[in-house]
C-alpha cells in the first residue's frame, strides 16, 4: 500500500504532523510566539518555539494549521531550506490539503478521451476498462454533473477542481472530456440531508447544480451550462450518462434559451419533439394552425410562454407581463380569431404548447 506523502514526511522526520483548528482569537496565540505577522503562517515556514524546538508549518488554510516540531540541530540548514521549498511548491500545486486526494491528471484525462471515443462509436453501454477505473472507485455510486464553459478563457483544471471541492465540501473526480467540457463526479452522499428532507432528490440535485452554476459564474471564469443526473455507477454507466447529459444541455439550449442549468427529467417532451423528422414537423405545423406566422410574433410568443409558465392562470400571467388583465384577454381572443385556437381550452393549449416548442427546432418554409 502506497504511503501518502504525509506519512512519508513523518517517517523521514521522525516526528508526527500535528493538526490544530484555528478559531477566531487563536491567531493571537501564534502572534505571541512568532516574530512575523500571522499571514506569514504558510507551508514551509519555520520558527523557533520558546522551548527551543523548531516548528515547521506543513499546511495552513483559514481553518486549520498542520505542523511538525523538530529538535534543534535535527536538520541541517540546507535540509531545512529544501523542506521549506518543497512544502511551498506542494502548496502552490495544491497538494498540501488533506481533503484533496489528487488523482493523476493523466488517468482522468485518458478516461475522458475514452468516454469521447465510445460516444463517437455509439458504444453507449461500454464498461470502463480496469486501468481507467480510478483505483476501483468508479464501482460505487456518484452524482454526475456535466459542465460546459461558455467563455473563451482557458480554464485551469486544478483551479476548477479546488473550487468544486470547496463548494461541494467533498472530494470530486474531475474528468476533462472535450475542450471546455468536464464531467464532475461527486459522492452520492450529497443527497443525504441532515434531519431528513422535504425535497425530492430531483429538487436537491437541481438546487445543487444551480448553486454550482452561480458559484462558478462569480468565482471562476464566467458563464457556463450545467446538467445533472441521478446517481450512477460510473464503471458501467458513465458513457451513456455523459451522452444523456450532453443531449440535455443541447436540448435545454435549444428549447429554453436563457436557462443555464438543465435536468433530464424536465425535457421529456422536448426530447420527443426533437426526435421527430423535420418533414413531419413542418407538416404538423402547417396542418395544425391557420396562421402559423402569428406564432412567430415576439409579443404573442412571450404572452403564451408566460401564460403556460403561470399554469394558464390569466391573472397571474397579466401580473407577470405587467399588462392589464383585459389586455391579456384581448391578445388571447385575437389569437383565437386568427388561428382558431383558444388556449383557455386544454386541448388547444396542448397544441399551442407543442407548436411553440416545434418552432424552436423547425426550419419553416
Amino acid at each position: 500500500m502506497e504511503l501518502s506523502w504525509r506519512s512519508k514526511l513523518e517517517t523521514l522526520l521522525g516526528a508526527p504532523i500535528v493538526t490544530e483548528s484555528r478559531a477566531p482569537g487563536e491567531a493571537d496565540a501564534w502572534r505571541g510566539i512568532m516574530d512575523e505577522p500571522e499571514s506569514a503562517v504558510r507551508p514551509g515556514y519555520r520558527f523557533r518555539l520558546p522551548d527551543g524546538k523548531i516548528r515547521l508549518i506543513v499546511c495552513a488554510d483559514g481553518e486549520k494549521v498542520e505542523y511538525v516540531d523538530l529538535q534543534p540541530g535535527e536538520l541541517t540548514g540546507r535540509e531545512e531550506a529544501l523542506l521549506e521549498w518543497l512544502l511551498a511548491e506542494l502548496e502552490r500545486s495544491g497538494r498540501t490539503d488533506e481533503g484533496s486526494r489528487r488523482r493523476p491528471d493523466r488517468e482522468l484525462r485518458r478516461l475522458g478521451e475514452w468516454i469521447q471515443e465510445q460516444i463517437g462509436a455509439g458504444r453507449l453501454k461500454a464498461a470502463v476498462p480496469d486501468e481507467l477505473n480510478a483505483g476501483g472507485r468508479l464501482g460505487s455510486e456518484w452524482v454526475p454533473f456535466l459542465l460546459m464553459a461558455d467563455h473563451t478563457a482557458k480554464a485551469n483544471d486544478a483551479e476548477l477542481e479546488k473550487l468544486l471541492q470547496a463548494y461541494l465540501e467533498t472530494d470530486v473526480l474531475l474528468v476533462p472530456i472535450r475542450d471546455q467540457e468536464w464531467l464532475i463526479l461527486a459522492p452520492d452522499t450529497l443527497l443525504q440531508e441532515e434531519g431528513g428532507g422535504e425535497e425530492t432528490p430531483e429538487e436537491l440535485l437541481e438546487g445543487i447544480a444551480r448553486g454550482m452554476h452561480d458559484m462558478l459564474a462569480s468565482e471562476w471564469l464566467g458563464e457556463s451550462h450545467i446538467a445533472v443526473a441521478h446517481p450512477i455507477e460510473p464503471a458501467s454507466a458513465i458513457v451513456e450518462t455523459v451522452s444523456l447529459l450532453r443531449e440535455t444541455v443541447a436540448l435545454g439550449r435549444r428549447f429554453h434559451q436563457g436557462d443555464t442549468v438543465h435536468v433530464p427529467w424536465n425535457i421529456h417532451l422536448e426530447r420527443l419533439l426533437h426526435s421527430i423528422p423535420e418533414e413531419q414537423r413542418i407538416r404538423f405545423i402547417e396542418q395544425a394552425v391557420n396562421r402559423s406566422d402569428l406564432l412567430l410574433e415576439p409579443e404573442i410568443v412571450t404572452t403564451l410562454e408566460t401564460y403556460f409558465a403561470m399554469n394558464c392562470n390569466v391573472s397571474d400571467t397579466a401580473k407577470k407581463l405587467y399588462i392589464h388583465r383585459n389586455t391579456l384577454l384581448y391578445r388571447l381572443d385575437k389569437l383565437k380569431q386568427d388561428t382558431g385556437l383558444d388556449v383557455r381550452l386544454f386541448r388547444d393549449a396542448v397544441l399551442v404548447k407543442l407548436l411553440l416548442l416545434l418552432y424552436k427546432v423547425t426550419k419553416r418554409r
Binding site: G62, R210, M215, A217, S218, L221
Partner: protein
Amino acid sequence: MAGVRLEHVYKRYPGSDVASVKDFNLDIKDKEFLVLVGPSGCGKSTTLRMIAGLEEITEGKLYIGDRLVNDVAPKDRDIAMVFQSYALYPHMNVYQNMAFGLKLRKFKKSEIDKRVREAAKILDIEHLLDRKPKALSGGQRQRVALGRAIVREPQVFLMDEPLSNLDAKLRTQMRAEISKLAKRLETTVIYVTHDQIEAMTMGDRIVVMKDGVIQQADSPEVLYNHPINMFVAGFIGSPAMNFIKGGLYERDGAVHFKAEGLDIELTEGKASIVREKGYVNKEVILGVRPEDFHDEPVFLEASPKSIVSALAEVVENLGHEKNVYLAGLGSDTVIARLDGRSDVKEGANIKLAVDMNKIHLFDPETELNIFEN
C-alpha cells in the same frame, strides 16, 4: 470604491446581424445608484452581464475604476452580483453561504466571521445564520443573496431584477431596504429592472433602453417631467402618459391643439416654441399625464381655455385617488387620475381642465418631444 465607464460598447451574438446592444456610452459615477430600465429584450440584462464579465464585449471598452476590464474574469473584477435567478448554495447554511467567497479567497477566519456577522446585522438575518436555504422565506433568501454580495465589499454591486420573484408587498419592502443599504454601504450599484416604479423610486439616475439603444439617461425627475421621446414618456409613469393624435392651428393669435373631442389652447411659452419649429398647421401627438387632468372647480375656473368634456366609462376607486377611463378624447381611451374625494360617477359626462404647463407634444414621425429637442 469605483465608477464604471462604458465606451462605445456593442454586443453582437454570433450568426446575428443585429446588435443586442448598440453604441452604449455611459459614465457611472462612484457611489451612484444607476438603474437600467426598459422592456424585455431591450439589452439591459445583456449590458449588465457584459459589466459582470458573463458576456463578452464585441466592441468597445469597459472600465471599472481606471482599469480596463474587457478581458478580466468575473472573479477578478471586484464586483458582486445579485441576479434574478440567484441560487443560494442549498447544502450550506446561511453563514456558510455568506462566508463561501471569502473562504475561497483565503481570508482569515476571524475576518470572515466579522464580515458575515456585520452583514447579517445590517440585513437583520443574524437569527438565520444556522438555517439552510430551504428553511427560509423568499424575502429571507433575497437578503442572504444580498449578504453574500455585501461581505465581499466590492467596488460595484450588480443587480439584475433581484425582486422579480417576490410578491408585490415584499417587493415594495425590499425596494426600500435595498435603497437604504446602498446609501449605507456607499457603493456603486448598477440595477436592472423592467419595472419603471422600481426605477423611479430607487435610482439616482435612470437609463431607459429600447432595442439595445439608450433612449435617455437622467434623474427620475427629469425623465418624468422632460421625456425626450414618446417611448420614454410612455414607459415612465403609471398609469402611462396619454397620447392623443391631433394637429396645431393658430386662432386669434393663440396656438390651439385640436383633436376629436378637444380643442385646447397652448401657453404662450409653448406656442412660441411650436411656431419657431414650424409645427403650426401640422399634425402632432399630445402627451398628457393622467394626473394633469383636474376636475376641481378652482382649476376649472382658472383654465377656461383648456377644458375638455368626456364620458367617464370606468372609474377605479383606489381610495386616495380615482383612475377614470375617458371616452371621446381622441380615438383611444384616455386615463385621468383624480383625487379620491372627486364625485365622478361611471357613465357621467364630466368636464376636466388640462394643466397646459405640463403637456408634451411629439413629432408623429420622429416621436421626439418637440419641447425637449
